[in-house]
Structure formats: C-alpha cells, structure tokens
C-alpha cells in the first residue's frame, strides 16, 4: 500500500497545557498506584523480627567437662518460617567452655563473624577454625592474626542456675568490626 498523503498536524489548541498536565498526572497516578502497592509489600520483611532473643536452656552444667576445651551444643527453640511453625528446632549452635573447677561457663556463637559460616573446633591444635575463609580463633574466641575475620567470635550471655546452662541467643551482623545484634 502506498503511504497516504501527509496530513498537516492539527493546530495547537490553546488549552493544551492543561491537557498535557492532566494526562501526565493521570497517567502517573495510574501506573504508580500498583507500583506503590508492590513496594509496600516488597518492604514487608523489614518489619519482621527474629524470633529468638531470649535466654534459652542449652544443657546441664555437668555436660560441659571442666577441661577448658569448648563443646558444641545445638540451640533448640520454637521457630517460625513465615507461615510454618516448627516446634523445638535447632536454630543454631554454641560452644560452651568451662575452666577446671569453675562453675561459670563461657559461651560463644558457632557462627563466624566474618561471613556467617559454621566454625569448627580443632581439638588437636586447640583452636577454632572456620572452613570457609580460614579464620582461626583461640579457644576463648579471640582472633589469631592475621585473620580475615574483623572481630573475635561473638560471646553470648550465659547463665548457670540450679546446674542448668542457659544462653541468651542472638544473631549478629557479620563482616563488621562491632558486634551488633540483628533485630
């Protein structure tokens, strides 16, 4: 088909400014409404809080031998994952350590403060090692330099009452020098 002969554009109407303004505002509102609703929903995770930040029972005092060597214990708590509720699930792990003859316990989180991997205990060399980026920590959680880790292992508040050990379980942001608990 041959192109039709060009038709001259209509003369600009006087009130065209108002028309343009209304078209832009209306079109903007129409498209922004679903976008705004979507953003609102997308930001929902920001108002969710971690389920655990309380003292949780871990074990009995006598289960932590007083030889200065840390032992690993699971942290068991009820956990919600969005719509699913888990009763008494392992939500993390701690290392508990007791010096000879002592009745107090030092607790450190098994989560590496560098990038969040799971720190392992090297019984032979009497130190902690992270299998991901090779951070090494002393038995009390101190840094062995040079280390990729920006801070010592995260110590946790620990209570011994009536021969039972409870730990205040918290997650911390990784990769920064300060120990900051996640909300």
């Amino acid at each position: 088909m041959a192109d039709p002969a060009p038709v001259p554009p209509p003369a600009d109407a006087r009130r065209s400014f108002l028309t343009k303004l209304m078209a832009m505002v209306g079109g903007g509102l129409a498209t922004l409404t679903p976008v705004a609703a979507g953003v609102w929903m997308t930001l929902d995770p920001l108002r969710r809080k971690s389920s655990a930040a309380s003292f949780l029972p871990i074990t009995k005092l006598e289960s932590v031998p007083d030889d200065g060597l840390p032992r690993q214990f699971p942290v068991i708590a009820d956990r919600n994952d969005a719509w699913t509720g888990f009763a008494a699930e392992p939500i993390g792990a701690v290392y508990l350590r007791r010096e000879q003859g002592s009745d107090t316990i030092e607790a450190v989180s098994a989560t590496c403060p560098h990038a969040g991997c799971f720190i392992e205990l090297d019984k032979r060399d009497r130190c902690f090692r992270c299998p991901c980026h090779n951070s090494v920590f002393t038995l009390d959680g101190g840094i062995v330099s040079p280390s990729p880790s920006p801070r010592t292992m995260d110590s946790l508040e620990c209570e011994v009452r009536d021969g039972r050990v409870a730990v205040k379980w918290e997650n911390y942001y990784s990769g920064i020098a300060e120990k900051v608990a996640r909300p």
């Binding site: 088909m1 997308t42 930001l43 995770p45 920001l46 969710r48 809080k49 971690s50 389920s51 029972p57 074990t59 009995k60 289960s63 699971p74 956990r79 994952d81 969005a82 719509w83 699913t84 699930e89 392992p90 939500i91 993390g92 792990a93 098994a110 560098h114 990038a115 969040g116 991997c117 799971f118 392992e120 032979r124 060399d125 009497r126 130190c127 090692r129 299998p131 991901c132 980026h133 090779n134 330099s145 040079p146 280390s147 990729p148 920006p150 801070r151 009536d162 021969g163 039972r164 997650n171 942001y173 990784s174 990769g175 920064i176 020098a177 996640r182 909300p183």
Partner: protein, 678 residues
C-alpha cells in the same frame, strides 16, 4: 509457479496470504532488515560470541520455563520438587542438566564476548551506550547465576547463599536492610526462596530481555564494528555470518551435552547402570540450618571472589568491605569508564591490558582457590610427620615448641613455616572429608526420597532427621562415643580405639558374634567388653572366666547355644537365620536357675530383676531404648551402674539429654535397622 510464462504472473494462495499480512504489518521489510545487514570485510568467526550468548539465553528461557512448571519454591518443597525433576521425571535430568551447564557456558561466553568487544575497540564512539548496556546485561546474567544456585535448597546452595547475602549486608548505609529484603526476613526460609525465585525467573530475565532488545537495536543501528584493516569484500549477515553463528551455537550445545553425558559414557564403559543423579546438575542433601556444611563453595565462576576475600587477611572489617564491595565495585566502575578512557591516545591499549589483567587475575584467584582445596591431593603428608608429632607433644604451646627446638630462631621459623604448610594440607583434608560426607548425605537423601512411602508432608529434612543411618552415627559421636567404641574388631584402628574407650564396644551389639565374645573367657575382661569398666571384677566376668571355661560345667556347644539364644532375643539385622533348635536349647540354659538364670531374669524363670540385667528381650529395640533412657532402672543396673547417664530422664523442670525419637534412632542404628535401597 506454472511452466508457461504468463504476462500477468498469477500469485498462489500462500503468496497472497503473505501479501495480505505484509500490507498490514510491513513484516517483509523487518525480516529484510534483520537478515540483510552488511558485514564489512565478510563473515568472521570472531563475531559469533554475541549470537552464541543470545542462543544460550534462549536455551535458558526454554529449559527454565519447563523447570518452572515442575518447581515449587518453599522450604519444604523446593528440594523435593527438584529431586522429583532430577530422579523421577522423564527427561528431567536432561532439562535441568542443560539449564545448569548452559548457565556456566554463558559465563564463559560473556568473558569471550567482552574480550572480543574490548580488543576490537567496539566500545568507542558511537557505541558507548551499547557497551554500557552490555555491562548491565553481564551483571544481570551473573545475578541470575547467583540466585539460581539457591533454588534447589540443598546444603551447597543454602550455605553459599548465606555467605553471599551476608556480604550484601556490608553495603554502606542500606546494607542491613538490603540483606533483610533479599533474605525475605531475619532468617532464611520460605521467603528467601520465593524472593530468589522471583528474581531469578521474573525480575532479572524480564529486565534482561528489555535491555537485550535495546542492545540489539543499537547494534543494528551502528552496524557491526568490523575488525580492521578490512581486506576481504563485504558480505551479508544472511547467510554467511548466520552459518558461522549456527556452527558456534552447535559447538556450545555439543560441549554442554558432552558435560552432561560424560558420566553416562563412563558408566557404560565401566558396565554399570546409569544413575540419573550423576547426569547434569548435582543435587546435594536438603538444606539444614542446624547441620554445618564445611565444603560450602560458590559455583566455580564465583570462586575468584570467594578467594579474593582471603587476600585481605588481617585487614579487619576494612578487608571484607574492600574485598567484597570496594574492589569489585571499582573494577566494574573502571569498565564503565572504558569508552571515555578509550579517547585518550593510549586509552585503547590500557583498556585491553586492563581487561586481560582482570580476566587473568580472576583466573589466578580461581586456580589459587582450587589449589588450596585440593592441596592434599599432591602433598607429601609423610614429610610433615615430625611437625605433627611436635605439635602433639607440646599441645601446640609456643613456649614448649621453642624449648624443644633449642630456642634456635632459625629452627623455630622453619618449624613455623612447615606448620603453616601442614595446616593448609589439613584444611584441604577437612575439605575432602566434608565433600565426601556431603556426597554420602546427598546419596542417602535421594535413596530415602525414593522409598515407596514417598517424602512426608514435612519435607525431606524430616526424612533425614528420622533416618537411623544418617542420625545414628552423629548422635552416637555426640553422646555415647566419649565412653563407648563402635568399631569393627577386625579393623586396623580397632586396638587403639578400644584401649581408649571406657565401656563396651557396641559394634554389632546384640549379634551372635558380639554375644560369643561376651561369653569368651579370653574376651570378656578385654577392652571390647567389661575390661575398662567397673564391672571388670564383677561376678559376670569371673563367671565367664572361671565357670564357663570349665568344660565339665559348660560344653562349647552349650556356650554357643547361649550366644545364639541371646542373638535370638536381640534379633538384630543380619542375624535372621539362627537355627531354632539351637535357640531353644540356649533359651533353656539361659533360664536355668543353676546357670545364667541364677542372676539374670530370662524366659519364664522366677529370678527377679535387680541384680543383673534382664535377658528377656536382651538388646532388642525396647530393651535398648530402656537402658539408654535409664540404666538405673531395675531391669538394668539399679545398684551397679558404672557412670552411664540416664539420657531419657529429665531432672525436675529440665529437659532430658536425648528425646524419645533420638534414643529410638540410636537404638535402631545400633541394631542395623534402617531403610536399605533395592
């Protein structure tokens, strides 16, 4: 067309239909535009990378859509649906394999395309914007690779993603919020999967398509950036360059299919059946937040970033920020500036050198990461025996080590260097052990998922957490192994392990073989039985060593009958074919109040429990659960329990050390009762 030449060519119905659509859409011009592009200097192999990438992306869209139609993104269904795709659906392994391997091919093709564009100077005016679009497309592809890694929700993807998202938290100001948004909440779970899936299959490919359309439109607008100097005559895109492109696509496809099918060829050569689990993409054990995964590594094309974090050892928090955010960001920023740098006299050379340096650097870092992980393969472990020995003797105490080396600084420095090398080897060994464990876990998970009972609604993790074979060894190691050994007496390491144990060896506990050892005067007081316990001097030991070695009171046949009868009580897996006549004879001897029955309750004898363990149902499931729960119960050792804790008894207000389920798992594992595949 008819043979007869006609002055007015008659057009057939198809041609008429084509005319109808062309009149209304103008498609002929579009097709012509698309195919008849001038290629200055003729078709060349170096122009195939862009087309190959488009081909790879289309392959990913096709296979991805098919996978999507069978995938279910939630913490209880992701692994399960991928298992079903990989192991049960017709062609599932092939589609998933193509998607997985083609993703890796895409990363390689991206690197080649980038190299070709930079070397040919195709980023220079007027193509700057298209170069920037290409860099954005590259990041979108890498983003899809990163998000896709998590979707099977296996251990590998789960733990690697934890690291990746933790690094996202390091972005200044918005980091923590960004991380929480990506993860879908404070913890990893359903919403991590749904979000990653929405990114992987919706947002990222959608954005990619939009950018790709603009990228290709601009490419056509500017024409091909021909390799200079032009020596050959020009040609058209169709068919000369298209043919070369198609050959390249086929080559990419052949490599991808080769990678997928290689294990099948190997299986055929070795004459064993082909396992769909080894074809195409791997599927690890289901993600378990409580089960650490020491072999967590990103996909190979991200290994250089993983290794890069180790470079900043000792830099503290700045190191991780530099390694994960600043340096990669700066490199990308420099690439965006290439078109501007290229205007400078030596700019092009700089850009080429820079790109080569980045690719070589990434290659070297990848090689370093692999070399660290695989160090144990070529290391001479024996050469470090003396280092290991000294560390062991001194408990790794620096002062003692210095003293042992005569406080000689040279020797200490030498020792330190060797100790570091040894440490690297041991790390590599730990990596291998973790990989081996991960493979065993993955294999077991698949085996359990394939049971006729299928996967329970709680998901595959529930399947593994209730599997005696998976959990037994872990629970035993954590709660039992500080006293009990569990080792085949014929194993080379048995003697050492038995000597170190302070209670009976529970390997095949309850079997006729175990019972024979118990009744053997040579063994009963040995380390595999009562030797290292407080019972070493008890009546049982003296009865076996004195009375049972006396052939006037006990014949060998009678002892064997008791051993077999004990095994019949236990009925562990592997002892199914005991002779009923011998069992009957042994049961009578056991219940005999002149013999075993003088201390033990057995059969229908009238001996009361309390002095010696009950032989009725000895080592059976219920008996084992009973003794682990409470060894001080009158059926077991109410008076003479030697240090064994009551694992199932809670102190007031407390929780027992082991749950009923856990105790049942240990009992089943000791008895060999677990699901065995066909």
């Amino acid at each position: 067309m008819s043979d007869a030449p006609a002055p007015h060519t008659r057009r057939g119905p198809l041609a008429k239909l084509a005319d109808f659509f062309d009149d209304r859409t103008g498609y002929r011009a579009v097709v012509h535009e698309a195919l008849y592009e001038r290629v200055p200097g003729g078709a060349r192999w170096r122009y195939v990378w862009g087309s190959s990438l488009v081909f790879a992306f289309i392959t990913q869209m096709v296979t991805g859509l098919v996978l999507w139609s069978s995938y279910s993104a939630s913490a209880q269904t992701a692994w399960e649906s991928v298992y079903f795709i990989q192991h049960e659906m017709a062609g599932g392994w092939l589609v998933r394999g193509i998607h997985h391997v083609m993703a890796q091919a895409m990363v390689v093709l991206l690197a080649l395309h980038l190299m070709q564009v930079v070397i040919d100077g195709a980023y220079r005016a007027p193509r700057e914007v298209n170069f920037w679009l290409g860099l954005i497309l590259m990041q979108l592809v890498l983003g899809m690779a990163l998000t896709g890694y998590l979707l099977p929700w296996d251990q590998k993807g789960y733990w690697a993603t934890r690291v990746a998202t933790n690094l996202a938290g390091l972005v200044p100001l918005i980091g923590p919020s960004l991380q929480q948004l990506v993860v879908g909440g404070p913890d990893y779970g359903h919403h991590t999967l749904t979000r990653f899936f929405a990114l992987h299959a919706g947002f990222l490919p959608g954005t990619l398509i939009a950018f790709l359309v603009v990228h290709l439109t601009l490419f056509r607008k500017h024409g091909l950036c021909a390799k200079q100097p032009i020596t050959k005559p020009d040609c058209m895109f169709w068919p000369d360059q298209v043919l070369k492109d198609v050959v390249a696509m086929l080559a990419v496809l052949a490599v991808v299919l080769g990678v997928i099918l290689l294990p099948a060829v190997r299986a055929m050569v070795e004459g064993r059946p082909i396992d769909p689990g080894e074809l195409g993409a791997e599927l690890g054990a289901p993600a378990d937040p409580s089960q650490p995964y020491a072999a967590a590594r990103p996909e190979w094309y991200f290994l250089f970033l993983f290794q890069f974090l180790k470079v900043f050892e000792g830099w503290g928090a700045d190191g991780e920020f530099l390694g994960a955010i600043v340096v990669p960001g700066a490199v990308l920023g420099a690439m965006f500036l290439m078109p501007l740098i290229g205007r400078w006299k030596l700019g092009h050379r700089f850009n080429v050198l820079f790109t080569v340096a980045i690719l070589v650097g990434a290659g070297l870092l990848t090689a370093m990461a692999l070399r660290e992980d695989y160090a144990a393969v070529w290391a001479d472990r024996e050469a470090y025996a003396h280092v290991e020995q000294l560390i062991e003797e001194t408990g790794n105490d620096p002062e003692k080590i210095a003293a042992a080396l005569g406080n000689d600084d040279t020797r200490i420095a030498e020792f330190r260097a060797e100790a570091r090398e040894l440490e690297a080897i041991r790390r590599s060994e730990a990596f291998f052990a973790a990989v081996e464990q991960a493979e065993a876990d993955a294999h077991r998970a698949v085996e359990l998922a394939g049971r006729p009972e299928r996967i329970p609604p709680g998901g595959a993790l529930e399947l593994i957490r209730t599997d005696p074979l998976s959990q037994g060894p872990k629970l035993f190691a954590q709660h039992c192994s500080s006293c009990h050994a569990h080792v085949d007496p014929a194993a080379p390491e048995a003697a050492e392990l038995l000597a170190a144990s302070s209670a009976a060896n529970l390997y095949r506990f309850g079997s006729a073989a175990w019972a024979r050892g118990l009744l053997d005067p040579e063994q009963v007081a040995g380390p595999a039985y009562f030797g290292n316990t407080a019972h070493a001097e008890d009546d049982m030991v003296s009865y076996v060593t004195d009375d049972m070695s006396d052939r006037d009171s006990w014949s060998e046949e009678q002892i064997e009958a008791v051993a077999v009868a004990l095994a019949a009580e236990a009925a562990v897996v592997g002892d199914e074919s005991l002779d009923p006549a011998i069992v009957e004879q042994g049961r009578a001897l056991m219940a005999d109040e002149e013999r075993c029955g003088s201390c033990h309750h057995a059969g229908d004898n009238e001996t009361e429990n309390g002095y010696a363990p009950d032989l009725a149902g000895w080592a059976g499931r219920e008996w084992l659960i009973g003794i682990i729960t409470n060894p001080n119960h009158e059926r077991f050792y109410p008076e003479t329990n030697d240090r064994m804790p009551s694992f199932g008894v809670a102190e007031e207000g407390g929780v027992p050390a082991l749950s009923e389920t856990q105790i049942g798992l240990i009992a089943d594992w000791l008895r060999g009762e677990w699901y065995r595949g066909e």
